[in-house]
Amino acid sequence: MKHEHGYWRSLEQLSGSSHESVDEFAAGVAEPPQRVSRREMLSLLGASMSFAGLVACRKPAEAIVPFVQAPENVIPGVPKYYATNMPFGLDAYGLLVESHEGRPTKIEGNRLHPSTHGASNSWIQASILDLYDPDRSQTVRHLGQTGDWQAFVTAWTEMESEYLASGGSGLALLGESFASPTLARLGQAFSARFPHAIRATYEPVGDDTSFAGMELAAGEPYRVMLRLENAEVVLSLDSDFLGVEADAVRNTRGFAAARDPERGSMNRLWVVESNYSLTGANADHRLRLAAADVPAFVSMLTAELRKRAGDLTLPAASSRPLPQVDARWLAALVDDLTHHRGRSLIVAGRRQPAAVHAAVYALNRALGNVGASVSYYEPLDAALPRGLEPLVRAMRDGQVSTLVILGCDPVSNAPADLAFGEAMEQVPVTVHLSSYLDATSVKASWHLNRAHYLESWGDVRAVDGTLGVTQPLIAPLFDGKSPVDVLGLLATGTDAPAYERVRETWKTFLDDGSFEKEWRRVLHDGLLDGSAVVAASPALTIDRVSDALNDAIAVPSDGYEVVFQASPALFDGRFANNGWLQEVPDALTKLSWDNPALISPHAADALGISNGEMVKITVGQNTIALPVWIMPGLAERSIVLYLGHRPAGGVGRIASRSGFDVYPLRTTRAMGHAGGATLEATGTNYALATTQEHGTMNEPNLAPWQKGKPERARDLVRQGTFEQFRRDPEFARRELAFPERSLWQERRFEQSPQWGMTIDLNACVGCNACVVACQSENNIPIVGKQQVGEGREMHWLRVDRYFTGAADDAAVVFQAVPCMQCENAPCEQVCPVGATVHDEQGLNAMVYNRCIGTRYCSNNCPYKVRRFNYFNFTKDTPESLALAYNPDVTVRSRGVMEKCTYCVQRINEGLIEAKLSGRPLSDGEIRTACQQACPATAIEFGDIRDDSSRVSRSKLNPRNYVLLEELFTKPRTTFLAKLRNPHPELAQADLDPTPSEGHH
């Protein structure tokens, strides 16, 4: 896509410094990595060929190993599904996990559960890989020696008597955030048993500031639940509620529901942010503002609101006017907010101080949004993040003789100024429950290997109070223990199975008489129906909010501002050893495997640095070195650092391959952002792997007879405004540049079903859930950073990110591109061995064992959706990771082309099932992995011959368009054009993809 049309993929393309089109196969791409030439390779192969080699090529002898005592209802080859719940900090995700012969292989959302409604995100999808991670800690360790759980139980029983006598003085317990009735009950039992013990909870990325804000304004730390489906106008203040913030799956679902133009109205999203978040990418109006300036913005907003609507109870704060905030912009925003009382919503991000959260609560309350678009809940059975600082002080003072840490890795991710590692050395006995032998575990005297949530019993409470049980899918692979096991031992002194502990807790929720019946129902459904609680109605002390807001307004500081952002892939670092998440290209930067410092084009100009240059970033006394990446649309003086990479943390082989640890820059007083940072170029370079120019769809030169046709016919991404859509619903349609006729004899598809798909660009938020879901479903390998850099990433489904507008203030559009399943497939016509052919259901099928690897098909694919196995990426799969493979999908070897097949294994499973039960296939029964995972329900899939199917109706949508239609490939996958909904007063050019004056 050329930038003359207003869309560009990279800054190089915008400035014209990159070659016109990036070839899919770069020069030398077929050579082996050591640069052995093809000729040498052949001679090497020849030398090693002998008859002896041939004789060794025998079929492996395989044993059939059936169950000795076959369990009821397990039919080998037929998957079963279990409802369970994934605890994620204070969040809980209701899941449905696919199990093949007792091995979990794929995770989906639980349709019954309010936290997911059947959808998921990339973390949920990828968490299955963590279960089978061969780098997980596999044993208990005591003072560096291998131990076992029983030894710890004995050791604790000895220690315990001393603490029982002293009421627990000298004992300390540090844990992760949770919302779990069993853990809460055991925590209370622990405190009752050891009343003098210190307890603390720490989350590197949590809702600390939100709780502090609610405490400030309402006196109680309420949890916030967004009801985006009820919000017509949304203002995000540095909040990535569609990406890394709490409950993003439900938020995305609600946001997409309120954004559906077919309803007749569409929400409008205003975003004020320093970094470029997923939420910012979906904004209708986006204001770039340093994170430190947000409190001042809030005070400007309240002043303007007061002017417009004097009847509102608003916090009062005075601030200097920010030069970045255009008066017209602010007026339009306030106009929107005041005209949508009860249907608007303001959201504050985790990075923002308590004062902003308090003020946002006051504003939502004043605008009548509380109870409508936002609800507040008492945190039930929850451990809120607090108490780390007093704990570390006590540790330093020698008041702690035994410290038990359940999860988290405070040595590497606690604020740097606390020097947790040093303080830990003052504690004689430390116990750490952890999945990896990480920095904290290495320092601890006892390391207990942790069980994955798919291996352990537990329970959760969602934000609205909905109760659910975490039921295990498999017995612990490495005999790990869960927090319930360890806390249970500490709190009761006995080592009982977690199953019994959870059931004991649930005796309070279920009737005595019918406990077994109801318990089975809870496990079966994944939640206790009707356990949601009534939302709280918090009070408000407006003066305290005003005071706090006044205090929070920052004096302008020199230098750059460092903004800490939870990694959209690795979150706080818990997924650092997850290959799927490491490799999935970031939604905005399209970088994989690394976390360079993101700087604005303005800062890059000022400092004279370019992509990949190493810099030293200093904040206070702390310095880290890492490369930079220039990200369009950042606030000018903000440097965005992604948390979560732990190359030196001892976490595992994947984590140690790349990335930079930015936790050393984070201090107690600057957990979200830090001012006064300095940048110093070091003059060295670092190789970064980005996919932003991979899969560039070429625009062929216009043939003579096509000259003079509408140029816009070739637009890959089509977007317009809601206003435009209302005037002309068919705005996305283009006149074809030449008559509809194929060069080939066209095949007729007359048998039902005929599969087709639509992808709604307006609903898609770009979150990557589909990419990881596809990877999980289809056994797609990871290839490593170097191979990604050479354009060999294997993701069958890629999400293209296009910028529009100027580099400083670029807007973003996402486009998910799987195989289009063309009816006139260009790939099929060039395959010399018939390895890619059409089936009678309209699928462009791939016959792996026919493929000889010519790559002609990929070369001829205009959509660039075919992936080639340059190496045997799956050859050295560790035994435990092989357990994660989907048994229904072939694992591909070297030299084979592969691509999206609309999840043909799911199609066949559905067809067989319908046939066996003697009924016709119903619409929506077969869902592709990407469709099922999508939290925005952007993907529809089904039979296009059935006029009543959802996909057929979706294809009748006036926004429906065909990608590269003029090639007449007749793809089965089509797109629905994207809409923006700018405020009528501000309907400016930055959303309009027409050529802007600046480029040529």
Binding site: V65, F67, P71, R521, A882
Partner: protein, 201 residues
């Protein structure tokens, strides 16, 4: 024969000679497989062996106490043969005539080879191997409550394997009903005449 196929035939001949084996020669080794072709998959197929697990099985039993979708089974007595206190049921749960009709049929498939059509424990296995098989008509077993019979079918007893996997619960109850019918018939006959009629054992 077209000339072009001569090289191909030569190749085939060469391959036969090289592998040292043509049809008919015996070998205990697995067959030759020149083109691996992704035939041997690194994934785990059903009933595949695994070096990862201590018991060598790739298939894992579901964790005890878990409930899969579609297996709600809230009616525990029906699925276990015991009531909530753990006592065997003394009544067969209500079954439809169609379900009951499957009893003799399922009995013939799964039980008859050992227990014989009359339930005397003198089936094929006893005749050929002398394997001691229980009779339903001895004093001890004729007093079994239905729940106990169900439990034996489900979990096995002595040498007998549990049949929970191949026989669904409703069919198990139907078999129990059939076994009880056999027992009653035997008792009725014993009451009617002290000597068995001719032709029966």
């Amino acid at each position: 024969m077209p000339r072009a196929s001569w090289p191909a035939m030569a190749m085939v001949l060469l391959a036969l000679v090289a592998t040292g084996c043509v049809r008919g020669c015996n070998s205990s080794r697995p067959p030759i497989h020149l083109n691996p072709n992704m035939d041997n998959q690194p994934r785990y197929d059903p009933q595949q062996a695994s070096d990862f697990f201590y018991d060598g099985k790739g298939m894992r039993a579901p964790v005890e106490g878990t409930v899969a979708r579609g297996e709600l089974q809230q009616d525990r007595p029906f699925h276990t043969g015991t009531d909530s206190a753990g006592n065997f049921l003394t009544e067969i749960p209500p079954l439809t005539p169609a379900q009951l009709a499957r009893g003799p049929e399922r009995y013939a498939i799964y039980c008859e080879p050992c227990h014989d059509p009359r339930g005397l424990g003198q089936g094929i296995l006893y005749e050929y191997g002398g394997v001691p098989t229980a009779s339903f008509h001895d004093e001890q077993r004729s007093a079994y409550p239905p729940g106990r019979l169900f439990d034996v079918i489900t979990n096995g007893s002595g040498l007998m394997q549990g049949y929970r996997y191949p026989i669904p619960p409703a069919d198990r109850w139907a078999i129990v009903a059939h076994v009880q019918q056999l027992q009653r018939a035997r008792q009725d006959r014993a009451h009617a005449t002290s000597a068995p009629p001719e032709g029966t054992r």
